[in-house]
Symmetry: C2
Subunit: 218 residues, 2 copies
DNA sequence: CTTCTTTTTTAGATTAAACTAAATATATCT
DNA sequence: AGATATATTTAGTTTAATCTAAAAAAGAAG
């Protein structure tokens, strides 16, 4: 069995591998986990003994198949709970992360099987991130930043990159929430600002905003 | 903040105080927690420093008001989650204890407020035990064992004392589940066996069965 | 009111997960 | 290549929660 701390490390390594493609460094893990590199070394050695990662001193870490499966399952649980919190308990999408961070460690396969069915086996969480299936496989997603869209393209808002209270308030004011369709009417080259259409309105959006908003394209 | 272990000790002490009325002994706690008395002493001293219990060496322990409130809240969370598991996820009543044992430690007042509302603010859990309200107050319950009923009395099944798979199968076969009305038609003095009416049927029940079934009386 | 038993506490050790400080690899730069 | 900087690991501590074994207090019995 995995401890809570071990599960959190596996999750962090999983995300880092996804971002970088290859092996993951001790420092990168330490930064993501908000801990010291020496603590990471300790833990990584324990995970290597449990055959959850391949570890070469001074070189880096890589998840084994077993490690990947375990990490994906924790992420699956996290995202399913987020769906539950938003869909059933009416939480706002930016309030659920910390609670899901706790719920993801509840140990009961039966619970997750039933929760998944109860929620209608969703493919994405409230932030637009894909939910791994029972085998740890992630659905391919076409999620990208609004700033990456070109003139005349459109996308559906699926989440935010960093959610400060002010930013979410701004979105509310502009009538943007999950599922809102956004069309790029114009794009300035020199500062990346845009004019977008949302519902019946049109307005200006700065790069800072467009760089912080995830959309899904067709 | 309370740690997971501390919360479990408070819960155990709460239940023991309820059973015995007065102060609780180190040994009693050790037995309930399935741990050694020396571990209990350590923990009880920590809880005393946090002013969750009153502790007099060699004498015993007693919850403070703060300790009672904290324990009742953990129990409230446990029982609300049990309702969720049975009502929403269709778990059987005897499968939910261990999962609720984990869920009860999730820290988020907002979560519990919303969960309670979502479940319709239930007063009892699937075992017929009362759910403490937001202030830690327990609804008075008239829950008793079926074996305590006299001839011609009736009760509504609210739970079981010890739930083995065989026993629950037996109940299923006889058409008894939560909410079933049971009327005592006759009671043998020398062995405590009964004849009961359930729905349209009448049948014989041994003391062993009647001693294991909780009913609520008017 | 001593003696014996039981209960409770103390002292010292262990494990998981973190930390600090020091040592050792690896990487970079002139 | 040699010097310096950076990354990583090791060694030794700390804290929470447990344990075993030994000591001390309380309760029971003659």
């Amino acid at each position: 069995m995995m401890t809570l701390a071990e599960e959190n490390y596996l999750k962090a390594i999983f995300h880092l591998e996804y971002e970088s493609g290859g092996e993951v460094s001790t420092n990168a893990i330490a930064e993501k986990m908000e801990t010291k590199p020496s603590s990471v070394t300790d833990m990584v050695q324990k995970l290597a003994e449990k055959e959850m990662v391949l570890y070469r001193r001074y070189k880096g870490v890589q998840l084994t198949e077993e490690g990947k499966k375990t990490a994906a399952y924790v992420i699956r649980k996290h995202r399913l709970w987020e769906v539950f919190l938003v869909e059933k308990l009416d939480f706002h999408w930016d309030e659920v992360h910390e609670i899901a961070e706790q719920l993801e460690h509840i140990q009961s396969d039966e619970l997750i099987t039933r929760l998944d069915k109860y929620l209608g086996s969703p493919d994405f969480d409230p932030h637009g991130d894909p939910i791994p299936d029972e085998h740890g496989v992630l659905k391919r997603t076409s999620k990208k930043l609004l700033s990456e869209l070109d003139k005349n393209q459109q996308g559906i808002c699926v989440g935010v990159k960093e959610s400060s209270a002010e930013f979410l308030q701004y979105l509310d004011k502009k009538g943007i929430s999950i599922g809102t369709k956004i069309t790029v009417l114009g794009k300035e080259f020199f500062d990346g600002s845009m004019v977008v259409e949302v519902g019946k309105g049109q307005f200006f959006i700065s790069l800072k905003i467009a760089d912080n908003l995830f959309v899904q394209t067709a």
